[in-house]
């Protein structure tokens, strides 16, 4: 399996991510594209700010890739994550997986994004018109 794991402060390129996972051995590609939503619990979101503990975040993403590859036969797995300031509609994360068969692609893609949200040291601050909050920080 080949992997490409990147944290970047530049806009993510959806098309090139999909192109990167294409392979002749694959019967399908599954892609998750995270996008910045315009509201949280009815409050209008102005922008999001993402911060990463980059060396550790890359290491944790490598671990997720290794776990996914133990569970599912994948041809290629790509994980790109943004840092910096993002506006509504911008893309903070792209996961792309190619596999011989679709079941593995769907399941691996879901596993990667779900686990990333639990373990990878990246933080998002939501900025509203009347304040800001680090997401998930408090109970």
């Amino acid at each position: 399996m080949e992997t490409q794991i990147i944290i970047s402060d530049k806009a993510l390129d959806i098309q090139s991510c999909i192109e990167w996972v294409r392979s002749p051995q694959s019967g399908g590609i599954d892609v998750f594209i995270g996008t910045v939503r315009d509201s949280t619990k009815g409050k209008r979101v102005v922008r999001l700010e993402f911060e990463a503990y980059e060396p550790m975040a890359l290491k944790e993403m490598e671990k997720i890739a290794a776990q996914a590859s133990d569970k599912w036969p994948m041809q290629r797995l790509l994980i790109h994550h943004r840092t910096g300031v993002l506006a509504v509609g911008d893309v903070p994360v792209i996961i792309a997986v190619s596999c011989a068969h679709r079941d593995a692609a769907f399941e691996a893609c879901r596993f990667v994004i779900d686990t990333l949200k639990q373990t990878v040291p990246i933080w998002k601050k939501e900025i509203f018109e009347d304040g800001e909050v680090w997401v998930a920080a408090h109970p």
């Binding site: 995270g34 060396p55 933080w123 920080a137």
Partner: protein
């Protein structure tokens, strides 16, 4: 032992900077947590937080040394 601790996300707001240095009583990750919580009580209001040592999540009993890269990992929210 004198330690330097990196902070991210809300921990940066709580520490008032992206790293703090202080004198640690004891030498485990658990000792570090209790020292930090005494100095920065707002840490206890978080949903949870972890200590990372050399880019790995640390168990409470892990022994720290003065060359370790130590970080506070508040609840993550990537994706």
């Amino acid at each position: 032992m004198k330690v330097s601790v990196l902070a991210f996300g809300i921990a940066k707001d709580i520490f008032g900077g992206s790293s703090v240095e202080f004198q640690l009583d004891g030498n485990t990750a658990a000792d570090l947590k209790s020292t930090l919580e005494r100095q920065y009580p707002r840490l206890k209001q978080l949903r949870s937080y972890m200590i990372a040592v050399n880019n790995e999540y640390a168990l409470d009993e892990l022994i720290l040394t003065d060359t370790d890269e130590i970080a506070i990992i508040p609840p993550v929210s990537g994706g």
